[in-house]
Amino acid sequence: MSRHKHHQPCRELHVVVLGAGGVGKSCLTAQFVHNEWIESYDPTIEDTYRTQLQVDGRQVVLEILDTAGTEQFVAMRDLYMKSGQGFILVFSITSSSSMSEIEMLREEITRIKDDENVPIVIVGNKADLEDQRSVPRQRAFACSQSWNAPYYETSARTRTNVNAVFIDICRQLLLRDEKYGDLDRLSDDRDYDKDGIMGLGKRKKRRTRRPDGNRCVIL
């Protein structure tokens, strides 16, 4: 029917992937959404992807905004920071300047959102290139600690930890929902990893109180 009511898809989450040019944002997104590996490099302007997934038994629609990292295309970053709900900050473990970039991005986000607790996941990509590592793990760990955001080392090439990153950000957003909506559901912690992807013990509590030494996931 022309006016037939289509269902409202479940919860919609808006996540923005940010990071320097060439660190692998698009590759991570393509791996997650389409199980595809892209060898070639084509600087992004902005692309949106929608995908539906289950997080802790809840169906959510995840809208991923893949953004530009290259200098000349970053005109809309402020906009993304304003409208995004959660952020995946990607650097490449082979480039220390890309690490500095996300430190700057984090600062921008908290400034624009005026919120220290914006859901963020830190991602060190290209973990398959361990031999070219130039960002020591310690540095990433330190960020993770001080920002109270989980850190994952991923490889878009080998699909390592790709799912874990996106599921983590979804979970953070859902928990944030609950925290504001339904506080007693916070205790409802479930182990996820049903899908057999890597992902070591992550906790689901919001990074509110206790500092957490266990939030970093590496290979």
Binding site: M1, S2, F32, H34, E63, Q72, M76, S83, R159
Partner: protein, 1171 residues
Amino acid sequence: MSSPATPNGSQQDLADEQPQAPPVFHNFLRAFYPFHPSYSVSDSSVTLPLSEGDVILVHSIHTNGWADGTLLLTGARGWLPTNYCEAYDPEEMRNLLKALLNFWDLLRSTSVNDSEIFGNQEFMKGIIAGVRCLLERTDCLTRESAIIQRHEGLRRGRKSLLSELSSLVKTAKRLQETQRGMLHSAEDVNDIVDEMILKAFRIVTKGVRFLDVLEEDRSLRAPAAVTVMDTVVEESHVPPTPPADLMGFEEQSNASDVSSRADASQASSDLVLPCMSDVAHAANAPVNKRLSSITTMSASPTSHRLSQNINRLSGISHRVSLAGPPPLSRPQHLVSERLNKSHDAFLSHLGSFIGRLHLQSQSRPELAFAIKLTATSGGDLLAVIDVVCSNTSSSDMLPRARDSMFDRIQDLVSSAGQIIHDAASQEEDVIMQQDNGVLLLAATGCVKAAGECVAKTKWVIERVGDFECEVESGSLGIDLSVLDVPFERRPSVATSVAGSTASQATSVAGSCRTVESCSSGVQRLRTSSTDKPLPELPQVTSPVVDETPDLPPQQESPPNTRPSSLLHDESLSSTVSSVSSLRPTLPPLPKLSTSLLPGEDYSPVEKANQDTDFQSSFQSEPGTVSSAGSSATYHSRDSESSLVSQTSTRATTPDHTMGPKNKPSMSELSNGGSSTQAEEVDDVECKLLEKTYAYELMFNKEGQVTGGSIPALVERLTTHESTPDATFVSTFYLTFRLFCTPVQLAEALIDRFDYVVESPHMAAPVRLRVYNAFKGWLETHWRDETDREALDLIEPFAEHKLSSALPSAGRRLLELAQRVSSEGSLVPRNVSSMGKTNTSIAQYVPAETPHPAVSLSRSQVNALQGWKNGGTMPSVLDFEPLELARQLTVKQMTIFCAILPEELLASEWMKKGGVGAPNVKAMTAFSTDLSNLVAETILQHSEVKKRATVIKQWIKIAHQCFELHNYDGLMAIICSLNSSTISRLRKTWDMVSPKRRDMLRQLQAVVEPSQNNKVLRGRLHDHVPPCLPFLGMYLTDLTFVDIGNPATKQLQSAGCGDGAEENGAGGRTVVNFDKHTRTAKIIGELQRFQIPYRLTEVPELQEWLEAQVVGVRDGDQGNVQVSYYRKSLLLEPREAAPRTPIEGPSGGSGQRTGDLFGWMTRDRGIAPVMV
């Protein structure tokens, strides 16, 4: 909207209505005479005092001429006499006024927690564009413009307007922030929304004032022309400039009676609006109080939003958008609502009918019944349309559409009647397949005609205003008795159903209920209208204004003629119940003072005294409108008024001797400006200078784009101020070829790239997005066949314009263009490579769910092997139902996944034998084959027992399909089993165990097409893939959207200056984007399931399956259905007393109707020859 020329002209418009010129609902009125009711206000309603020049947003107009409106000046809402007002719609203001309407509708109807709407600032664009348009049309866009430079008053007026705008922008930002960040912010969102509405009002008020000043300036500068003025003015549609300035009035009356006037302020107060900063705190509070006091009076204690505070009466015409959610309106009585409901009902009957037609057996009684339901609901729809027709005689556009819809229904009924007669005369129980073709054509014709007719009706309703009405479900005027021959002679739908199946009985019961509730609704309404005569209306005890005995007749109580012509033309339609019984006994409108007539002497003192009376009684009422809010600011108005000349604007203006003429106070105009920081105003100014097509966009209340011109849509696609709207972008890419050529799109994008330079602050993001739009197009949405010609534009653009602005982007786009030009398209646009800005929502499938083990025994493998080596072919009984269902599913899913979105557009699969939709065709062909295979395998056995075994096997296979969520396969098998060819084999079915039959019954329930596949839709609702939905359902939906919605819409009263408006060309014609959004949504739903099953394909079984299907297809000479039916008759000849062999919920007992999807392969509009 037609633009009323002068107060004289528009007064006539309201007062002196000629019967052949139907009333137009004016959204804005302007008081040309003050109205100060002196009677006390009853506890259920509020009248709105007016000052001359006040502009009112009208929500509804009662038949007696009272209008429910909101005074822009204060935000106060109440009843006001329309005969004191004239339509206000000057061309310069049109876009702004229209934007205000949208703004109001959006803000008042949106749930305040809808962060999606407030999250982006899209809803602000209309207002900004409206202000821009006003300034542009008055040549005052830039500060440097000559008029502005010359005229100090205008300069300040402009600045003040801009500062109001900037203030609104700021509040909108605050709302956005409240929404985004702190969900539990202390600040009540409702308050912010109220504040925003008031600010928007204020912007319009300033705009009105600005235009007044400008008009005055114009007339001053052409003093010689004064005598000629009136004619000139009238003819050139220069907007009215009634003596608007209360300031001046104030000044004069100061002399005579200062104190009374001062108290009367709230009505006439105005211009000095509280400056933005303190609106929220100081001024807003009393205003809100006022609003909520109205709310309380109209018995809605729940909310104090501006939106919700008034009851409505029958016999009122409304602004169309009021048909929405305001809780106190009775939308079910509004004609727009009735229209929607009856259209929905009609479509849903047609949908079910079409569903049965191509899926299932149709016996004659069933057909007759379905047609009756359809025709009856069509009649109901026509009845509503007739009501609207009778209220507008402006053109024959609507009657023509109505007639054509009537004709289509008549076609449907008579085709069906013919078919039923033929079948009866041949003593056939069945409807032959070529007949189905005829019926389908007739049914889709109905969908289309209804779509067009409803669209036109809506347009008319918008023009004349929505109104409440009673519609008796009408006698259609089509003789449905043709359908009754020969098994049923009585015309009544209800009785003809008596013998029908349970499900039908229910649906009839349902429809009876509707009718019932409808008529009881009428009764209730009638009773209540007598019991409790319209408490909402003011109890007018005495005329307000001095009466002068010798009024010209047409001014006696002018508006009465208007509404009665609106609602009271019994001769026109028998289906309109007499409105007179519903007409409330309203007080007569207060009579206009003859002081309006030139030369009449009027004493301001007298007037003022009355005002005082009014004022005191008014203010002593605790529940009434309070003037406290604005009187505080009232006194600050008079500082600079003497600067302004006292000359009357126009010689023709009715001489308001009691009041001074137009003298806008410049202090008011500048007042707001001084309180805002200059930079903010600059900021807004900057925004204003943006060239934009925003006023050519239409939104719905959810904030989605529903229509727009191509430049406006492209502008939206490349907007600089929000993150991309995934739905919009994907819909655009998917469907743009339906509303523009690729070359046009390229041109529009390039144009966008060019004109944005005028606005440096947004050039960077917009240009990136233009580049990205091209990039996305070439990379993922390119269609070589159609798009190639656009390369001639894209390549030079990339090479030159883009390269010079963004070198790397230019290079990349050129490279892409060269690649598509050599390779056709870059990626095979099949499912796996989709994703970027796509309609589909990919489903994340957890990695590596193991495939289940193949269920194939050694001996089965051997049997297949033997067959391949020339042995006998194993039969369907030789394999596990589970494995057969899996292999079927794999096969179907492969085809399903290959369906490209463009195959689903524009009913492609029904055109030219479906060449444009190969995979859709393949899918439907396979389903048909599968159905035939079921029949074939059953009918090939002459032993009853054998046949029963095969039936059982298919039931089990169907069950396994169901378990696998393969609804397409399930549907094909069940259809075949339901067909009369199979279902009539009573002896065979007797041998099928009750358990299996029960299983079948449950499966039948799942795919039951009644109520438009309600059961199946429910299941698919949030089904997680893998799942193979029933394709036919999507195709039906897509067909309905495609043929049931016109391709274009009229942009109402926008587009600066399109005057022509009779015959439905009221505004610009723009793309009906809503249609495309719906299409994309359905396609997105379908794409959601384009994910392969994790099942192992067994090549040997696939081969066998293919061979089986091919076998059936080869045997298909001519009409396979007929031969199956004959075979069935041979196997089990007709019994003397036929009875239904199996009772399924669908209860079929007619011949199966052949090629399941044969209807889809026909060209629309061509003679119904089945392929």
